[in-house]
Amino acid sequence: MLELALKGSKRYYAWIGFLLVLIGIGFTAWVDQIMNGLEITGMSRDVSWGFYISQFTYLVGLAASGVMIVLPNYFHSYKTNKHMVIFGEFMAIAACIMCLGFIIVDIGQPTRMMNMIFHPTPNSILFWDMIVLNGYLFLNLLVGWTCLQADRANLPHPKWLKPFIYTSVIWAFSIHTVTAFLYQGLPGRHYWLTAILAARFLASAFCSGPAILLLVMMATEKFTTFKMPKNALKTLVKIIAYAMCVNMFFFALEIFTAFYSNIPGHMHSIVYLFAGEHGHHELVGLMWTFIGMAAIAITLLVTPKLRNNLKLLPYTLVILVIATWIDKGLGLLIGGFNPTPFDTITPYWPTGKELMVSMMIYALGALVVTVLFKIATEVKEEMGHSQELPCGCSTEDNCDCTLECGCPKDNCTCEEEAAEEAPAEA
C-alpha cells in the first residue's frame, strides 16, 4: 500500500518537501548537539530535564488519544466511529515515533541507548516506558496496517487480529500511566508527588489528543475527498468536553490539597507557577493564559449551541490545545523542577537550538502523519467510505443529497435520519 503515498498532487509534494526542509534545518542543530553535547540546551544542574522531555510527555497524550475512537468502536460496538479508527491508529504511530525521537535527542550518550536492553532494569520506570511506547507503536502498526489492507481487499478484518486490538486499547492507558509514573514516584519533587498525576495525565490526554486529531482531520477534509461522519465528530467533541472538565477538576483537586493542607513543599511549585517566587515570574503569564483559555474552551464545549457550531469548533479546539500544552507541555515539567532541592529557583528556558531540534521531530511526526493519512484517505476513496457529498455531508451520514433536499452546505438537515440509526450516541 505504500505506493499510494508516492503519487500525489503538486501540493502534496510541496508539503512533503517543506517538511523535509524543516527536518533538514532541525537536523543541523541536532548535529551541533551531537558534536558539542547537551550544553547547547538551556538545561542545567537543577533543571535536568527540559523542553525535549516535556514535549515527549505531551505527545504521549496524542498517542493515547486514538483509543477514544477505538474503544467505543470495539468495546461498545459504536460503529459510527468505524471509519475514523484508522486515523486514530495512524496518529498514534506518528505520536509514538515523535515520543521516541524526543527521548533519543534528550539522552547524553545516544550511542549507548541499547544499554537499556542489554542491561534491563525492571526497577526503573524508564525501562517500562520504553517497553510500553515501543509496544504501542508495534500494536498500532500491526492493527492499523492489517485492517487497512483488509479494507482495501474488501475482506473482513482477520479474526486473529482481535486479541491485538483489545490489547492495544488497554495498552493505550498503560502508556500514559507509565509515563506519569516516571514523574510521580520521585521523592522531593512535590509538584509530581501526587497519586492523581496518572489520572491527570489521562484526562488531559483524552481532551488534547482527540482535539489535535480532529484538527488534523479537518485539514485532511480540506485536501481530500474524505469527510468525517457527523455523528462520529459530535461524539468525539463530547468526549473532549467531558475530558477537559475532568482535567480541570483534577487540577482543582491539586490546588485544594496543596493550600488547605498548607504544606510548604506542596504549595511552592503552584505559587511559583501562578504568582512567582523569589523574584522569579517566568511562567506566571503563561499559566494564567492556560487558566483563561481552559475556561474559554470549557465554556465553548459545554454549551450545546456553541459545541455544535462547526465553524467555531476549530477555534475552540485550538484554544484547548494551547491551554493543555501550557499546562502539560511546559508547566508540569518546569514547575516540577522548581523549587530545586535547595528550595531555590533556577529558571529554565529552551534555547533556539533546542527548539530547532524539537521542530525537526515535530516535522518528522507531521511527515509520518501525512504519508499515513494519504494512504488511508486514498483507500477510503477507492472503497467509497466516508466520502464528501456535494451538499457537504459524508456518505456515512445517510443524507439524501438530491436537490429536493436542498440542505445548505455544511448544515445538512437530513442528519436526523442518521441519528436514528445510531441511538448509542451521547
Binding site: 550544553e39 521523592p187 528550595d343
Partner: protein, 256 residues
C-alpha cells in the same frame, strides 16, 4: 603430498600446545582473571560520615575540602548553572529546607554546611536508573559506572539532595590537563557524575580526601559497627540528616 602431511602434523602440534596453554593465558588476562583484594583495603557494611558543623562552617574551610576532592577526582571547573561539583557548601535553609524555624540561632542559620552525595541506604537514584549505571555497592557506597551511563538524567530528577552533576559539554575542556590525577579517570561528556565517598582511596586503605582535609571535623566509619568512630559520635552528639521525610536514609550526618 608428503610435505603437506608433514606441514599438517606440525600445525596440529602447535595448535594442541596452544590449546593446552590457552586457559592459563586467558586466566592471567582479560575479564575473568581472579582479582586479589588489597590487604590494606578498608571494609564496612555501610560507610557513613558525620560532619561536625561546629568545627567546620566557613565557606573558605569547606572550599578547601572541595578543592582537594575535585583535584583528586579530576572534576572540571565550571561556573554557572551547568557546573559540575561533588562537594560544595550552602547555608542552613538550603541544606535543611524542611527543618528550618524562623527563630533559629543566627549563627546556625548563616553557617555554611558541606554538601555532598548522602550515599543513602535506600537511594532513589539507584531505583530509577534504567541501566544500572548508578548502583549500590555491598559496602553501601552509591557508585557510578561512567561507561554504562546513557545520560538520561533520571537520577538527577530523583535525587532529593541535588547531589548529581551532568557533563553538559566536554569536561576535559575545563580541566587543568597538566595537573590531572593519573590515578583517577576523567569523564566524557553526556554522563552523570557525583561524589563516590572515595572508593578508590578506601580500596588502598586511605580515608576519603575530604575527611583527611577536614582535620578531624569529619568522622568516617561503618554505620553498623557499634565500635566505629561514626557510631561513637552519633551516640554522644545530636545530629541532623537532610530531608528525612524523603525516606532515603541518608548516611551523612550533621552535628549542629
Amino acid at each position: 603430498m608428503k610435505n603437506n602431511r608433514r606441514a599438517f602434523i606440525k600445525l596440529a602440534a602447535v595448535a594442541a600446545a596452544g590449546l593446552a596453554v590457552a586457559p592459563k593465558a586467558m586466566a592471567s588476562s582479560g575479564g575473568h582473571s581472579p582479582v586479589k583484594a588489597n590487604p590494606k583495603g578498608l571494609h564496612a557494611k555501610q560507610w557513613a560520615m558525620v560532619i561536625d558543623s561546629t568545627k567546620l562552617h566557613s565557606e573558605e574551610e569547606i572550599a578547601k575540602l572541595a578543592d582537594s576532592c575535585h583535584k583528586i577526582h579530576n572534576v572540571p571547573e565550571l561556573t554557572g548553572k551547568k557546573e559540575v561539583k561533588w562537594l560544595w557548601s550552602d547555608i542552613y535553609p538550603h541544606t535543611f529546607p524542611e527543618q528550618e524555624n524562623p527563630h533559629l540561632a543566627e549563627e546556625v542559620h548563616h553557617r555554611h554546611y558541606p554538601l555532598l552525595c548522602n550515599h543513602c541506604e535506600h537511594p532513589s537514584c539507584v531505583r530509577v536508573c534504567p541501566t544500572k549505571a548508578t548502583f549500590k555497592r555491598p559496602d553501601g557506597i552509591v557508585a557510578m559506572d561512567y561507561h554504562r551511563c546513557i545520560g538520561c538524567r533520571y537520577c538527577m530528577a530523583a535525587c532529593p539532595y541535588g547531589s548529581r552533576s551532568f557533563n553538559w559539554g566536554e569536561p576535559r575542556k575545563n580541566l587543568d590537563l597538566a595537573n590531572l590525577n593519573p590515578k583517577f579517570p576523567t569523564r566524557m561528556r553526556g554522563v552523570v557524575e557525583k561524589c563516590n565517598f572515595c572508593v578508590e582511596r578506601l580500596a588502598v586503605g586511605d580515608m576519603p580526601a575530604c575527611v583527611e582535609a577536614s582535620e578531624g571535623a569529619i568522622v568516617f566509619g561503618d554505620l553498623y559497627d557499634p565500635e566505629s568512630p561514626v557510631r561513637k559520635v552519633l551516640r554522644e552528639r545530636f545530629t541532623l540528616r537532610r530531608k528525612p521525610a524523603a525516606g532515603t536514609e541518608p548516611c551523612v550526618y550533621y552535628v549542629i
